[in-house]
Symmetry: C2
Subunit: 206 residues, 2 copies
């Protein structure tokens, strides 16, 4: 057997971390953060309890890593729209990428939301998460800004679109993704939120 390279070790380490994170989000979602033991996560991940501590010092660190994973996935969706040249095109791309049907991702978001919504997760962890989300939101609002638009208005528009998109996914999760009509939903969002539709007598949130 040839000796493993540094890269191979790195890859194995990453795979181990991902397996543990998957198990953590699954267990936190099923048993609640406070009802979950590191043992449960080890069993689900099929690893020794001790090996979890190679990666994470505590259950709290695991929760932090779960929330980070959600932030990272949101960022990736935002990145897909970054090539856009102005607020208007950016918003169109954002609508297209956030409302596309990511079935695998939907499983993740179901678990993620069910962790995030728990009333008894440690405030220390959620505080960090919320502060990061606020930054993300401000960035998003900057990208949505239209020339000459009042900053408050841009923020209101950004809140509305972000909440509506999350509401669409919440409904798809709860009522079944088979009822989600991707094309129609994108069309409605563009009618409501894109200014260029004004000329056609349709909608735009001023």
């Amino acid at each position: 057997m040839s000796p493993r390279t540094k890269e191979q070790f790195q890859k194995m380490r990453e795979a181990g971390r991902a397996k543990i994170l998957d198990a953590a989000i699954f267990e936190f979602s099923r048993k609640g953060y406070n009802g979950t033991k590191i043992d449960d996560i080890a069993t689900t991940a099929k690893v020794a309890k001790g090996s979890i501590y190679h990666y994470y010092k505590s259950k709290e660190e695991l929760l932090e890593a779960v929330l980070d994973l959600g932030l990272q996935k949101s960022d990736e969706i935002m990145q897909q729209s970054f090539a856009a040249s102005d607020g208007e095109t950016f918003m169109e791309k954002f609508i297209d990428s956030t409302l596309s049907k990511p079935l695998d991702d939907l499983k993740f978001w179901r678990l993620f939301t069910s962790v995030l919504i728990q009333a008894d997760i440690p405030e220390k962890v959620t505080k960090k998460f919320k502060s990061y989300m606020r930054n993300s939101f401000d960035q998003l609002a900057d990208l949505f800004a239209l020339p000459g638009e009042d900053k408050e208005k841009t923020k209101e528009r950004t809140s509305m679109i972000a909440a509506s998109i999350d509401g669409i996914w919440l409904h798809a999760i709860v009522f079944g993704v088979e009822n989600y009509n991707e094309e129609t939903t994108k069309k409605i969002f563009k009618k409501i939120f894109l200014k260029r539709n004004d000329s056609k007598g349709t909608a735009y949130v001023k």
Copy 2:
């Protein structure tokens, strides 16, 4: 001590039921439906385990009652708009009542959503809930219908408004209700969804 009347017994029975339901939703949300034992619910409700069985035959019946409570609360919100005379006025009242800040209710909806979103609650129970919700939705669409409007369009509009409202509350729950601006949110919803704003050059989803 004077003998208790039938009404007094009825009241006590209802109070007992409400206490158990409150405890059930709290425990289901914290520990997950499958991780919760009837014993946990009895402890939280401060009642003997046996007295829970006076009201509910099984944990599954308790879950059903929790979902029924959510449906009942949604219906009450809808009822507030029923006095409206047409689809347009009904929608305005609906926006006003669903987007008002019910702080106590928000605690309930947080727990309720966190139960509803669990991936491993029994399909038998969610099936009944979903079928009831579909009926409610159809009723809502009938009330939103505008003269001459295509039925499919009414349904799309209804889906969009319902999902957006739930998204707004999801964000209020996750990011803190102190960031929720009731007046602005209502204003934006009316701009987007009420036809009569067309004349002001603002929005309406056709």
